[in-house]
């Protein structure tokens, strides 16, 4: 089994085994708050909502073939939209909706700008990097009292504290810590299932086809730009949802949501977990987040050292990420029978087809 197998398997209807896995996960997640304390729920909810961000990136990168450093733009936009909308209008339901729609619109504009301009590969990544920097610098410079949206000060560097929790129709008070846990878990499972099913549709198969060989798909009559743009918008919306959930989780948004460090972390989660799978980024997020939080407390303080080392090792040695590598390892260990040879490992697509290999 190789990355290609994973990718091509994505186009196959999920088996009953997969549905059982999903159902089991739902049961476990639903029951967790009953046996764990508040702070573990806190950490897990954070991992769940961040895994949405990782999912959005792996969908675009692993399946759409576009490496974008701009996911944090939509993440930050989602968070800020929720904060500003909920503090201005007093209702959180609509704020949530805006927080998903606005990043999607921005993604549509930015995506149109880049994808219809036939930008490939590295230049797409650079532009998304530049856009991330623009947003971060712009938001950070809004500390003065003159930067207000409605009645909410943007507050620049300081971020917006006191963001209200999500109001639900069946209780007066906003969601408790447990409620947030269930919400983020539900969001993660729903998005995961939705993306997985999306990939089995004809849209999903064309998208993977474009990632494999864009020229061939175009010759077959598909307008690759529309498919890529749709993927970009979907990713943007998911990232926006992640940002809004972060605001609900922490009651706080800040320019750090836009910054390069955050963008780096998303990339690391996806690489560690495995970018050609959907479950991989979720695992990657969990592992790396837990590692960072633990390191920051143990007093080692050298979180960056470990993260950098992890990134280098994974790019060099475990290009497919944790899960596929573990999966391949598992299969090799299981198949220890005479006469059995490991299947050939094909290199996954690196650059856009047609780009010269230097």
């Amino acid at each position: 089994m190789t990355a290609l197998d994973f990718a091509s398997n994505a186009a196959v209807r999920p088996t009953w085994r997969w549905w059982v896995f999903v159902a089991l996960s739902v049961v476990v997640l639903a029951g967790l708050p009953l046996v764990t304390d508040v702070s573990l729920q806190l950490q897990l909810s954070l991992i769940f909502l961040l895994s949405l961000l990782a999912l959005s990136m792996s969908f675009m990168w692993g399946y759409g073939g576009m490496l974008s450093f701009g996911q944090t733009v939509f993440y930050g936009l989602g968070g800020y939209c929720y904060a500003i909308a909920s503090m201005n209008f007093g209702t959180t339901g609509w704020a949530m909706l805006i927080a998903v729609l606005l990043p999607a619109v921005v993604a549509a504009l930015l995506g149109y700008f880049m994808i219809y301009g036939r930008l490939s590969d590295i230049y797409l990544s650079v532009i998304t990097l530049a856009v991330t920097l623009i947003f971060e610098k712009a938001i950070r410079a809004t500390s003065g009292p003159e930067f207000v949206v409605g009645s909410v000060r943007l507050n620049g560097q300081n971020g917006i504290p006191g963001v209200p929790g999500l109001q639900v129709p069946w209780q007066d008070a906003p969601l408790s810590m447990e409620g947030v846990f269930w919400l983020t878990a539900a969001a993660m499972v729903t998005v995961y299932v939705a993306l997985r099913l999306l990939l089995t549709t004809s849209y999903g198969r064309v998208l993977v086809g474009i990632r494999e060989n864009e020229a061939r798909m175009q010759l077959m009559g598909f307008d690759s730009r529309r498919y890529k743009l749709a993927a970009f918008v979907v990713s943007g919306a998911i990232a926006g949802l992640s940002g809004a959930l972060y605001a609900v989780w922490g009651n706080f948004v800040a320019p750090e949501m836009f910054n390069l460090n955050q963008a780096a972390q998303v990339v690391i989660w996806v690489i560690v977990g495995g970018r050609s799978t959907l479950i991989g980024p979720i695992v990657g997020t969990g592992v790396v987040q837990w590692l960072t939080t633990w390191l920051g407390q143990v007093g080692v303080g050298q979180v960056t050292l470990v993260l950098g080392f992890v990134l280098m090792v994974f790019v060099l040695a475990f290009r497919e990420g944790l899960l596929p590598t573990l999966g391949a390892l598992g299969r090799v260990l299981v198949r220890r029978q005479p006469g059995d040879t490991a299947p050939p490992v094909l290199p996954a697509r690196q650059s856009a087809p047609g780009a010269p290999r230097e």
């Binding site: 922490g250 706080f252 750090e256 407390q297």
Partner: protein, 412 residues
């Protein structure tokens, strides 16, 4: 001065290891009851760490001294440290974790005003107590928040008075960091400058990652002020003092600052770059009192480092000692009991006598005017005894409105 790695780790983990070690307990004869847990969230890494490194060690030293003399209410103190890495998101996460999972009895920490404003709502949510050991722009009115550092009425007023009246530098150009501390402090500077007959020519704000000040230095030269006021913050802004000296020079224009020195910039800069900068502070290493000298000596021995300690380091010590005094008066560590006992709590510390003001939960302290010298240190100019936090007292009365929970900003 090279920071030896072993010394660094010893200092950094001293809080966790030493404060709870069996040897210390045996020496102090403390009963093995549950320790009083003190959450400490500071930036050991990142651009804001220039303020935190000494404070981390000084807080640990205070804990060691208290434990060595019998602990607090018969219990030992234990620090739970979190490195917020100059990232407000982590301040938010760790503050929640400190109360929800680690069940701390009190929260210390936060340096920038933005990190404080992130943590205060969390402290209120968990009904805890928060000691903010830093100088800031004043105005926070919150019974669960205690400020042990300088506020504008204590720091900026005497500084502006000295610069305008004694140095005759009436026209000022203000540079400030672009976040709530810089925004509000610059307003206070303008207020006091105008009050005392001076003139503020311009105010400019700089995000914390700016280290190229050539454009503003050109604008300063075009405006021709008598004095440049600096409320710049953090690692990158230290470049300003270098570039100012190489372009304009303190012989030609005075430089006064509310933040210079507290980040130990004098250690990173050359003697010429340090010389002549005027500051107002509540502690410098060279204060000619026994308390100051003793503190500096004990700190150097404890931390194994022999370089300049500075005000933020002393804040960590002072905050812990004031908390200990309040707990002793309250005879309990429950936050609400300690809060009730805050007013009137005193501690005679390295910078003078500290008294907690029950009306605002801020600290009355001695203020010293100083000027940088050619030996990377500061020379004392003048001292003012027991300055009240007038700016916050004018807007905040926690005795009348105990549920007040906001930060007031000055109107010009």
């Amino acid at each position: 001065m090279k920071l030896d790695r072993r010394q660094f780790f010893r200092t950094a983990t001293g809080a966790l290891a030493f404060a709870g070690s069996q040897a210390a307990l045996m020496r102090a004869g403390i009963a093995q009851t549950a320790p009083i847990r003190i959450g400490n969230i500071l930036d050991r890494t990142g651009g804001i760490n220039i303020y935190c490194l000494k404070q981390i060690a000084a807080t640990a030293m205070a804990v060691e001294e208290i434990n060595a003399s019998g602990g607090l209410l018969g219990r030992k103190l234990q620090i739970v440290f979190y490195d917020s890495q100059s990232n407000n998101q982590l301040n938010s996460q760790y503050a929640t974790q400190a109360f929800a999972r680690d069940k701390v009895d009190v929260l210390f920490g936060g340096v920038t005003s933005s990190s404080r404003e992130v943590m205060r709502p969390i402290v209120n949510r968990f009904k805890g107590l928060y000691f903010y050991n830093a100088l800031y722009e004043g105005g926070v009115c919150d019974r669960r928040h205690v400020s042990t550092g300088m506020v504008p009425a204590q720091q900026i007023e005497p500084l502006v008075d000295y610069v305008i009246k004694k140095r005759n530098a009436k026209k000022g150009y203000i540079l400030a960091a672009d976040y709530n501390y810089g925004q509000i402090t610059s307003k206070w500077m303008q207020k006091y400058i105008r009050q005392m007959g001076g003139q503020d020519l311009a105010v400019e704000f700089f995000p914390l990652d700016v280290n190229n000040f050539a454009p503003v230095l050109s604008r300063i030269q075009a405006a021709k002020p008598d004095v440049v006021w600096s409320a710049l913050v953090g690692d990158a802004h230290v470049s300003f003092y270098r570039q100012f000296e190489s372009t304009i020079g303190k012989k030609n224009m005075l430089l006064a600052s509310t933040t210079y020195g507290v980040g130990r910039e004098n250690v990173a800069l050359s003697p010429a770059e340090n010389e002549g900068i005027v500051i107002a502070t509540s502690f410098v290493d060279s204060l000619p009192t026994d308390a100051a000298r003793g503190f500096v000596e004990r700190f150097k021995k404890f931390s194994g480092q022999s370089d300049y300690v500075g005000e933020y380091g002393e804040y960590g010590y002072r905050g812990m000692m004031l908390y200990a005094e309040a707990v002793k008066r309250a005879k309990s560590v429950k936050p609400d009991d300690v809060i009730a006992a805050l007013g009137g709590t005193k501690f005679d510390g390295p910078g003078g006598l500290y008294t907690l003001d029950g009306q605002t939960n801020h600290t009355v302290m001695d203020i010293h005017l100083a000027v940088g010298n050619a030996k990377r240190g500061f020379d004392l100019l003048e001292s003012f005894k027991q300055r009240q936090p007038l700016d916050t007292q004018q807007v905040c009365d926690l005795r009348k409105n105990p549920n007040d929970n906001k930060q007031y900003e000055p109107k010009l």
